[in-house]
């Protein structure tokens, strides 16, 4: 019994340290870089608030596939591309301001849903390799996006305005201006506290999404997703349509990512037609992981902590790097490196934990069998308890 207690407490400590190691590391990086960057507190807070409004919705879209056990959805890029196509149309139709955003959101939904179903179906064929598959998926769909935007728009799909179209008559320009939509959402109801502009409406929308996610996780479908995420076979035995549930989770994520991208782009005020989406998945995933999430567990709290820490690093790193080495490129490379390193470390931790869990589960099974052989029913409950703790 004594020995049992000991082994129980030490993994707990380890768990806590592991769980908070990444945020802690980031707090340290930020603490070092902020004074070096020479940015004023006011400017820094302003930037972080802006970026929170810009990115939080996008990052929140990652939570649902994690709930369904499909890992980090690198395929959120698909939603971003759907949103970009919708915005290009809306810009061409000259629908401006918030009505333009609403229309873009509506137009993006069918595109996102189609792409989401396609992605979900492919991921169902690649169980256990969801992440790499969704990652390649984002490249594949990027190819299709380029085909549509660079060759079909203007030639087959009608695009009227020369300000959007390339002079050659088909294809979309490198940047599409969203000036008529720029920060319309952020500025409506915005308040100014001590020089910090707070985009209240954007935050309200983000809060609504948070509420939706909390509510959704309690619905039947949300519970099913959790069950599928825990163990597909058990879920299937319980009568859950595993494939369908997984597809729904990807579709929801894609649609939400599309909405998130519209919010993101209205803040930016223009679309970088061929590059705006290319790294969005990577940065959002990195931010989520910096907030203390892991591949199989992420909360709303992780999203907000992640946005604050990751973007503080993102803002100060180039300036701090320039202050130390006299070369601003170092800081820029540094933040890219950190983004990738965080994802790498999180993936490694997830895989090693999974292996360890498998190993202990195997041992427990063996122990339970032994106990059963000895005829003691207590053995099974012990193993059960241990299993619950793991979960």
């Amino acid at each position: 019994m004594k020995k049992d207690n000991k082994t129980k407490s030490s993994p707990d400590m380890r768990f806590i340290i592991q769980k908070f190691s990444v945020p802690l590391m980031f707090i340290i990086i930020c603490a070092i870089c902020i004074p070096l960057s020479g940015l004023s507190a006011n400017m820094l807070i302003n930037e972080i608030v802006t970026r929170m409004g810009r990115n939080a919705f996008l990052i929140l879209s990652l939570l649902i596939p994690i709930m369904a056990g499909m890992g980090l959805n690198f395929g959120m890029t698909l939603g971003a591309m759907a949103a970009e196509i919708a915005l290009i149309f809306v810009a061409d139709w000259q629908i401006v301001g918030i009505p333009g955003m609403v229309l873009a959101a509506i137009v993006s939904v069918p595109i996102s849903v189609l792409l989401g179903i396609f992605c979900g179906k492919i991921l169902n064929e690649a169980k256990g390799r969801e992440m790499i598959t969704s990652y390649i998926m984002s490249f594949f769909v990027n190819g299709i996006y380029q085909l549509v935007v660079l060759y079909l728009m203007g030639s087959i799909i009608p695009i009227k305005h020369g300000a959007i179209k390339l002079p050659r008559g088909y294809g979309i320009r490198n940047t599409v201006s969203l000036l008529s939509m720029r920060q319309k959402l952020d500025n409506l109801l915005a308040i100014n506290i001590g020089g910090v502009k707070i985009p209240v409406l954007t935050f309200i929308i983000i809060a609504l999404l948070c509420l939706f996610i909390v509510w959704f996780s309690k619905t039947k479908l949300g519970q099913d997703m959790r069950a599928v995420g825990q163990d597909m076979d058990v879920a299937r035995d319980a009568g859950i349509n595993v494939e369908r549930t997984r597809i729904i989770s990807i579709v929801m994520s894609t649609v939400l990512a599309g909405f998130g991208m519209i919010i993101y782009l209205q803040n930016m005020g223009n679309i970088a037609t061929y590059s705006a989406h290319s790294q969005i998945g990577m940065f959002c995933i990195a931010a989520l992981l910096v907030g203390g999430a892991s591949v199989d567990r992420a909360t709303i709290g992780n999203v907000f902590l992640g946005v604050i820490l990751f973007h503080t690093m993102f803002i100060v790193a180039p300036k701090a790097g320039a202050a130390i080495t006299g070369d601003s490129m170092i800081g820029e490379y540094f933040r890219v490196f950190v983004s990738y390193a965080v994802i790498t470390v999180a993936l490694i931790m997830y895989e090693t934990n999974k292996r360890r869990a498998k190993k202990t589960a195997g041992q427990q099974l063996a122990e339970a069998q032994k106990a059963e052989e000895a005829g003691a029913a207590a053995g099974t409950t012990q193993a059960d308890n241990a299993g619950k703790e793991k979960a």
Partner: protein
């Protein structure tokens, strides 16, 4: 029965969304309005420009137009409401007029001749479509950067 109700709900939801989209099309249509304070003639009648005109659309920056000037404003939807403040001669006291009109949906850019408008001429006299000239970047196409090796820059 349950399936039928579900289907009904779905159809209703889609109809509502489509209706919202249609409404957005109408209320969200953006137009760029160009105000001219220029001489114009209609049916042989010539209208002289004002000495100075200040046009204000909504809460946008007022455009102050001397003789022969052109100003610009943005409007969302098909109803244009503006305040026109006219100074007839040097040192004269300005008098303000509130003008509102419906503008055609199909036009992106619209030119409004203020003197003709204030003279009470019919719409075809003061309103004309403004065709935006795309800044010509020469015959050379802009190079498309598909960002394969780029790092994506800032977020």
């Amino acid at each position: 029965m349950k399936d039928k109700r579900r289907l009904l709900f779905r159809i209703a939801a889609i109809v509502i969304i489509l209706a919202v989209a249609a409404v957005m099309f109408v209320i969200g249509r953006g137009h760029t309005i160009y105000f001219d304070n220029k001489e114009t003639s209609y049916n042989g009648q010539t209208v002289e420009p004002f000495h100075k005109v200040v046009v204000t659309v909504g809460d946008q920056k007022p455009s102050k137009l001397a003789k022969g000037d052109r100003g610009m404003g943005e409007v969302m939807g098909q109803k244009l409401t503006m305040t026109v403040e006219i100074t007839d001669e040097e040192g004269g006291t300005p008098h303000a007029h509130k003008v509102s009109m419906n503008i055609p949906y199909s036009m992106d850019g619209i030119t409004i001749n203020i003197p003709a408008l204030m003279a009470g001429l019919p719409q075809e006299a003061y309103l004309s479509e403004f065709v935006i000239e795309v800044p010509d970047e020469g015959a050379t196409d802009e190079e498309i950067v598909t960002d394969e090796f780029d790092m994506g820059g800032d977020m």
